[in-house]
Symmetry: C2
């Protein structure tokens, strides 16, 4: 089991405008992507990995000039890893509107010659999937062995199974949900309000002012981060430990840092505000809020999934209170009602929603076993073809 080694991102340009769910459309645009492994002769071993809020096309491997630039799912994707790049051709793609190279609000709006800013159209999960399908076309991939993702990435995988049923054999949805709850939306709106009311946001056109709404982004990330961790995990890692306990075992009696958890969260918030784009954050939280494939079917998820053809792996984590196992079970039940083939794993892991990104032997074993079966199918097909 080795590392994927150094990787190089690629850019694919699309000249034809993409019509969006909002009714708007986005003119010519670029998608950044990376690939790992080798596409087989009949192009049947491709796996698309969809990313969540703050991730990108950089799923695995490192960049030559940055030894610490490991991909966000490097523990999952690589030679001999659960998603084995010795057998599968894996594609990571940065979504439209994101801030890691694909066309987004910080890029020049051809209509004005200035950065899009507030003029960048709002996108939905389905819009991202449409854009990804065009990329697949250009790469000559008619059908994916699997589309997979965690959290918001899982929503994209699920949308693939609905929008392009014949284009994926397997759909892998981890730590996700068929729709956000009122509480999920509420937390997202707190984050948005923090950004929107930051005077440095300038109505979305902060690029022209040479500033960044860092304070808003920081608060947004802090509140988001709390929802990614489990209560128990936070208690165990931080509890009520004081930051300055070594020096003096007492409270500071000011508004600086008293507790380790404050120090940790502020650091996470500050770090995030250094690299993430505020408009992207807003746009992605809206895509999360809007996701609700059952909506077009009177709220009936079974109906929404009735046209799917893929086989499914659904996985959830017991301590995930953002998208709890209950939410994954809704998907499973709707699929079972449609007599789809579904494997469901509810993994007892302490790390809350973040668990989908972390090393956990049981979790890794579940995904590995699923991909092993996929690989057998693949070689079976090849054998069948040769017979």
């Amino acid at each position: 089991m080795g590392s994927i080694g150094t990787v190089t991102p690629q850019a694919m340009h699309f000249a034809e405008p993409l019509r969006l769910q909002s009714g708007a459309s986005i003119g010519d645009y670029t998608l950044m992507y990376e690939t790992y492994g080798t596409l087989n002769a009949d192009k049947s071993n491709a796996v698309l990995v969809c990313h969540a809020l703050n991730a990108s096309h950089h799923v695995a491997g490192t960049y030559a000039d940055k030894p610490k630039s490991q991909g966000w799912w490097d523990n999952m994707v690589g030679p001999g890893k659960p998603v084995d790049t010795d057998r599968f051709f894996v594609i990571g793609v940065n979504n439209l509107g994101s801030c890691f190279g694909s066309t987004g609000p910080m890029h020049t709006n051809p209509a004005t010659g200035k950065p899009y800013g507030a003029a960048f159209p709002l996108l939905t999960v389905e819009d991202w999937v449409s854009a990804q399908a065009r990329l697949a076309d250009r790469l000559g991939i008619e059908q994916f062995a699997a589309v997979m993702g965690g959290s918001l990435g899982g929503m994209q995988a699920l949308s693939w199974s609905i929008m392009f049923p014949e284009r994926l054999r397997h759909c892998i949805v981890i730590a996700s949900t068929p729709k956000l709850s009122a509480q999920n939306i509420a937390f997202n709106d707190v984050a948005r309000q923090a950004i929107l009311t930051d005077p440095d946001y300038h109505g979305g056109d902060f690029y022209e002012h040479g500033v960044v709404p860092k304070n808003g982004l920081k608060v947004a990330r802090m509140v988001g981060h709390i929802t990614y961790l489990s209560n128990d995990d936070m208690a165990e890692k931080f509890g009520r430990k004081l930051r300055n306990a070594a020096e003096k075992d007492d409270y500071a009696f000011d508004f600086g840092v008293d507790f380790e958890i404050e120090s940790y969260l502020r650091y996470q918030g500050d770090k995030f505000s250094e690299y993430f784009d505020a408009n992207t954050y807003l746009l992605i939280t809206k895509a999360l809020d809007y996701f609700d494939p059952a909506r077009a079917h009177g709220g009936d998820l079974t109906k929404a999934l009735s046209g799917t053809q893929a086989q499914f792996l659904i996985a959830s984590f017991t301590t995930d209170w953002r998208f709890s196992p209950e939410r994954s079970r809704e998907i499973v039940e709707a699929l079972v009602s449609n007599r789809r083939k579904v494997s469901y794993a509810e993994i007892d892991a302490p790390h809350g929603h973040d668990a989908f990104l972390l090393e956990d032997p049981r979790y890794m074993a579940v995904v590995r076993a699923y991909y092993d079966r996929m690989a057998e199918e693949l070689s079976g097909e090849l054998t069948g073809a040769a017979a």
Copy 2:
């Protein structure tokens, strides 16, 4: 069961400085308070009601000039109500540092002639109890029949039982906790960061600038409010209902309001930012974070409660995820270990942490039954004294 009718707040001035836990002290200061019912001859029927984050001395009744100014616990306190003012003399007091009349950051600092602002000292739950004890002295109340409160108010009641064991016969702690968890502190720190980074905060001295950090307060209140409601309650009340559903059943595709829950939370945040003081919010969240009576006893809550003499009623609500029943049970167990008399009620109510303020037949019945027993004790004592 009637209303308490119109009430009039009173002010008590204290000339002697109060030494605080931080080492600082606060010079002469004023406490606002209200009383309901009549103090009996031997001054044995007094009940002190301690308030939580955004409440005040105005516990029950209305103000003559404001018919809608009902006290925050008017459903609990009044003639014939669970805390029956026909039998008990109830005192509500606004804590030091709050923004409803007692001396706080918005008042003139005698040392500078300007508003305290950032110079107002940080306070602890124990400091509030010390100030309340002085008020009791001035009112001639040596021993309370009960000290009671919910949430942060419950922390004050618990501190009374530790700091002045002989001064209360009953201690009533509702929807509270012996200390905040890392997650509780994390949410408080998000709220603080929203306020502290609002440019209109001016390092706490915004009074002199004629502005108020409304955006920060709004975000702070929004995140707080989410933690007061239960996930299920929010789902039932709001779900994914669209704000504009009557006009057009579709998303807005902008950063305005899409969902009812957003509208509700933003409204709550805006309303709060109109009347609440930012420095008070910061100060009270720190008092919450600092509360940890077991800390002085190596983390041993049983030791911390070993000197208590009161009888206890502890109550919690099943859907309260801010201060869950588990946290109340910690208090119960520590009291039982000390062989104290404890009644514990775990009430199955849907409304999360807010349940302690709401009408719930089972909850009201528990408090009523407890006070009925207290009233019997009182009349028993009187009979005994007359014999």
